[in-house]
């Protein structure tokens, strides 16, 4: 392998590195563009728990949309609870639309909305998952999107990668080597 590397001219080697950088930045820009279009910081998420079974299983891929924040009950929303790193995918069970204050009604298109959520597979609603003392989630502040489309199982590879760090190292290493060793 090392001999293969040394066989390169420096210019060729640099071109390969540039190529690798280009692939990375293209992927990054596509992700960010999708983020802009959907208005969601994380437009594609992988299901990590079985709390929405049998609709969603671990490893399923969900596509989110976050424009027009007038969420209805029955919609499946993805939200972040303060102090918890993993986003939760659950269904809205109750919604309460409050009257916007004079200041608010000028600055935003939708009145503030509070939601109570529940996982299809859970017996209880999510009050126990919220921060202590919190009974509802705020649509605007905590929800990062509403589920619009679904692809099964494809995201399972990311679960493998995050639960087995060795796999991540090996896969990244192999990918990097391929890109650098590949000759046009």
């Amino acid at each position: 392998m090392l001999s293969a590397l040394s066989a390169y001219q420096p210019r060729q080697l640099l071109a390969q590195v540039l190529n690798f950088g280009l692939i990375l930045s293209t992927a990054f820009m596509m992700w960010k563009s999708l983020s802009l279009v959907t208005n969601s910081p994380s437009p594609i998420v992988v299901v990590l728990s079985g709390s929405m079974e049998p609709a969603f299983q671990r490893g399923d891929l969900l596509f989110l949309w976050n424009r027009g924040v007038d969420t209805q009950v029955g919609e499946i929303v993805v939200f972040n609870i303060q102090g918890k790193s993993i986003p939760i995918v659950h269904r809205a069970l109750r919604k309460h639309v409050s009257r916007p204050s004079a200041k608010q009604s000028k600055s935003r298109a939708y009145p503030p909305l509070k939601l109570l959520t529940k996982g299809d597979n859970n017996a209880q609603d999510d009050v126990v998952l919220y921060t202590p003392g919190q009974h509802y989630i705020d649509r605007e502040k905590e929800v990062i999107g509403s589920v619009k489309a679904y692809v099964p199982f494809v995201g399972y590879v990311t679960i493998l990668l995050s639960e087995h760090p060795m796999v991540k190292t090996v896969v990244l290493g192999i990918m990097g080597l391929f890109v650098i060793l590949q000759r046009e």
Partner: protein, 182 residues
């Protein structure tokens, strides 16, 4: 270059392309089936009780509304080859002062594609979730019930809808303990 590695790469690439196109076609066919489920709801009893909310809430008393109803529904048309399950629910919509628009699910059900019958006939069912408002009070507000559905596909776009004809006549949440026959 015809090393086994390149071949493996090409086979994998081809597999991904084919499955992507196939999945897209399957997802698109979902739109060709008309979806027009029917449902009717009959409210039998509405009651409001005051009680201390359980465990994780404060010790203050809150009002809870309980609804008993009949449901007749036919969801057959929501099932096609790309339907994994449907999620149906009945929600109560009501107004208020501090919160002018409220909607609360009082009953829901998952009906998987494998279920033998896609029709539901429920007699005098008690709501699965007793409604508890954000302000803690219910009495004397107007409400209507409505049935809605969500189709979960094997792959593709999730679909939502409501059954317009299922919307009940408006009823009033009675005072605490007083019962309203509707």
């Amino acid at each position: 270059m015809h090393s086994s590695l390149v071949r493996l790469q090409q086979v994998f690439g081809f597999l991904t392309t084919v499955s992507f196109i196939l999945a897209s076609i399957i997802a698109l066919t979902s739109y060709t089936y008309p979806m027009n489920p029917t449902a009717s709801i009959k409210i039998n009893d509405v009651a409001v009780v005051k009680r201390r909310s359980g465990g994780y809430y404060s010790t203050r008393q809150n009002e809870y509304a309980n609804v008993k109803f009949d449901l007749n529904a036919d969801f057959e048309s929501l099932y096609n080859w790309n339907t994994k399950q449907i999620f149906v629910w009945i929600s109560a919509t009501y107004g208020g002062d501090r919160y002018p628009t409220n909607e609360a699910v009082i009953w829901d059900k998952i009906i998987p594609a494998a279920a033998p019958s896609k029709k539901l006939t429920l007699k005098n069912i008690k709501a699965k979730y007793n409604i508890h408002d954000i302000t803690g009070e219910y009495a004397h507000r107007n409400a209507t019930l409505k049935l809605s559905w969500n189709v979960q596909p094997h792959v593709g776009v999730l679909m939502w809808g409501g059954v317009g004809e299922s919307i009940t006549k408006s009823f009033v949440f009675p005072s605490e303990k007083a019962r309203n026959a509707v």
